[in-house]
Symmetry: C2
Subunit: 196 residues, 2 copies
Amino acid sequence: MRIVILGSGKGTNAVAIMKAAVEQQLAGTEIVAVFSDIENAMILKHAESFNISSRYLNPGNQKTVLSANEEETWINSILEMNPDLIVLAGFMRILKPKFLSIFKNKIINLHPSLLPSFPGLNSIEKAFNKKVKITGCTVHWVNEEIDGGEIIAQAPVRIMNGDVLKLVKQKVHAAEHMLLPWVIRDLATGVIPFVE
Amino acid sequence: MRIVILGSGKGTNAVAIMKAAVEQQLAGTEIVAVFSDIENAMILKHAESFNISSRYLNPGNQKTVLSANEEETWINSILEMNPDLIVLAGFMRILKPKFLSIFKNKIINLHPSLLPSFPGLNSIEKAFNKKVKITGCTVHWVNEEIDGGEIIAQAPVRIMNGDVLKLVKQKVHAAEHMLLPWVIRDLATGVIPFVE
């Protein structure tokens, strides 16, 4: 299974995947490229340190999506890598219908809540402020509904009395770092089926 | 702590509370009455078997709330019991502002999902159909927002591949039967504070 990772930030989830791959835990999965919409994003530096092809791609002028011309470049750059799976690991742009149709049923996203609770941005903070006692993270197929695609896997995180927001974020991120490689392995081995 | 339980159905959660009380697990909590809006509801028979005062109270003609005149009877019947806590255990009517203000910060409800996911009716079925992998149950304070009051406690339930709806319901109900007596004990001992 050939994977392309897209990310915008620190790349801690990408690192979790790359580490798992190095440790032969992903059933022969190969991470073939990491692309970022942020120049000098840490995720690119991390990929380099794992000797994985990594590149900044210009997202264009729009803030929440890839602009039309630049989207072409993104699509072609990804197609060149011939991926079986595209993993959104902290990728902060909404993918448009054209992109989604070209990579139909090949894109998964990691979201820091137990969806359908707390879709969208700042999920951990929203869960914390709502005083839920159990939150977590979700890996789901990406479709046109934001954080609304079919759920593949979830991991729970308990919020204890006295937990501060920072700790809850650490716990959710720790759950993410376990869940995402686990899902990738199960997709690679067929334990979790690809949608047709 | 004096408890009044309101319920409409089989009363399995009421039984869980009554059992815990008999087993001295509720820190001296006394269940002083069980009221139901359904004549001959099993919850009333269960209460009788525990020698707890139980009574059908006419809800009036409306389906989702207590009708105005009947609401008076409900309020007075509950006030006569001088409760510290009112537990909604499968009570299928929405309480109106007057009722809520008279028993302000004294009413808790048990809901079969990890709120804020799946408020309202048929929560377990909705969670099952949404293919979430983690659901559960929630005890929350009751305010005017349906299933929207402050969360007191939650318990998780994992939905495994191959689980049928019936099994998921059983698992959520089992979690409910553990969570609700636990919350009542912690309210009685002050581990969980009453809201002022």
